[in-house]
Symmetry: C2
């Protein structure tokens, strides 16, 4: 992905929600979740009662590049212990239909998390085991349920994908993503004088071959041409190339022909 | 994930961007990309010169559940052919640094795509081969580059994850994700009369055990208690349970004690 040049490393890190994996089964999925987190700057992972114990070599291997997340994992035996210092807990789940609980989108959830974290509150997001998802006793510990708006005909997000979407939304809510920029590749935006000279050169060449005809339309033709050129986001390199193009074309239509 | 109950199937489908995989190497990744798309309702996949030919059994196997995407794939030999009917093309890439091109976030890109698709324009998103990403000649065919705001210290999105984030953003831009709702699990919000009776019952019980004391603070204590109860989002089931709790507790503090 592009964009790494735009982000400032110093803006990453800092207070953030904890990602809590409840009874994950496969070490590979723990590692993939760590990578998904770290892609968007999340690094607080907690694991409740991992099936294959801890540390887990498969998690370490799969987390390649995101080792700092795995190295700092906090493991607890129960969900109760994992959430005890949290002020607000979200549960990601497809279940919990028999519990009364607010249901929010990832967007709203991370918007809310941003506000709470900014106030110094400790926020966590619960993710259930790969196949079964969170059980009701764990969902009951959460303040709200996060619902990803997936296709009702096909809802197949795996653990790491679900973590990825939440981490992405957390990052997006920081609001410092680069706005649209023009990648300039070593050149600069042309200055107005350069654009003006380009227009004049082009007009002169076109004039010389009788382009602005009939006479009563010439003025509006010139205006339209200038307008077209002025709304093009031309760089200095573009302007040089454009001059070359005009010259090449025009030299095949000498005035004397 | 929850949320499938909120979405209306009829709102899915319809005009949408094409996802164009340029020279993908692994059939598994094609299948995973198809699943990522269909999770958020995208189903127009095009593939340019797949390394292992087409059809690809591994793609079919991995796409399990999203077969409709694989079944409808359009395969071309060149990127030029794949984009020829498109009005606007986005390129997802970490490269292209030596090309002058607008760079946008997934959010802005899909916002723009939504507007263009709504006008009847045909939009596509190019994804490069797994390891190398898009080459400059392909990036040059795009109108803009999509940059995912990943962690500068760790940018490791794979093909299917990148497709997933774009598909998620496309869906998010449709703006019909369920707002926050309270999952009521078979019960209803309590009526005001039920809340009032609950307050009265609680107050009577508390009064009987001398809770509202000293006398000059009694009135404000009652007000605070009523206020606390009235701002709780109680359901009819909650109210019944609450009555049970009060009764149970109060029966251990008989007035006569």
């Amino acid at each position: 992905m592009s964009g790494t040049d735009h982000a400032k490393a110093a803006e990453w890190g800092g207070p953030q929600p904890a990602v809590i994996l409840v009874e994950p089964q496969m070490g590979e999925n723990i590692g993939a979740a760590a990578r998904a987190m770290w892609n968007f700057g999340l690094e607080r992972m907690r694991i409740v009662n991992p099936r294959d114990g801890w540390p887990n070599q498969k998690a370490v291997t799969m987390s390649s590049g995101a080792a700092r997340v795995i190295d700092a994992v906090q493991v607890t035996q129960t969900t109760e212990e994992a959430v005890q210092d949290l002020n607000y807990v979200f549960a990601t789940t497809a279940r919990g239909r028999d519990l009364t609980k607010p249901v929010v989108t990832p967007e709203r959830a991370m918007e809310q998390a941003r506000a709470m974290v900014a106030e110094g509150q400790n926020v966590g997001i619960l993710f259930g085991p790969e196949r079964s998802g969170l059980e009701n006793p764990d969902i009951a510990r959460a303040n709200a349920i996060i619902s990803v708006p997936v296709n009702p005909a096909f809802a197949s997000l795996n653990l790491a994908q679900c973590v990825l979407l939440l981490a992405y939304e957390w990052r997006r809510q920081q609001g410092d993503a680069a706005p649209e920029v023009l990648e300039l590749a070593g050149t600069k935006h042309a200055e107005a004088i350069e654009i003006q000279k380009l227009s004049e050169t082009l007009e002169a060449r076109l004039e010389s071959v009788g382009f602005f005809w009939p006479d009563h339309k010439a003025e509006s033709m010139v205006t339209n041409l200038r307008n077209m050129i002025s709304r093009m986001p031309l760089t200095q390199a573009d302007v040089r190339m454009f001059h070359g193009v005009i010259k090449s074309l025009a030299d095949k239509h000498p005035k004397s022909r």
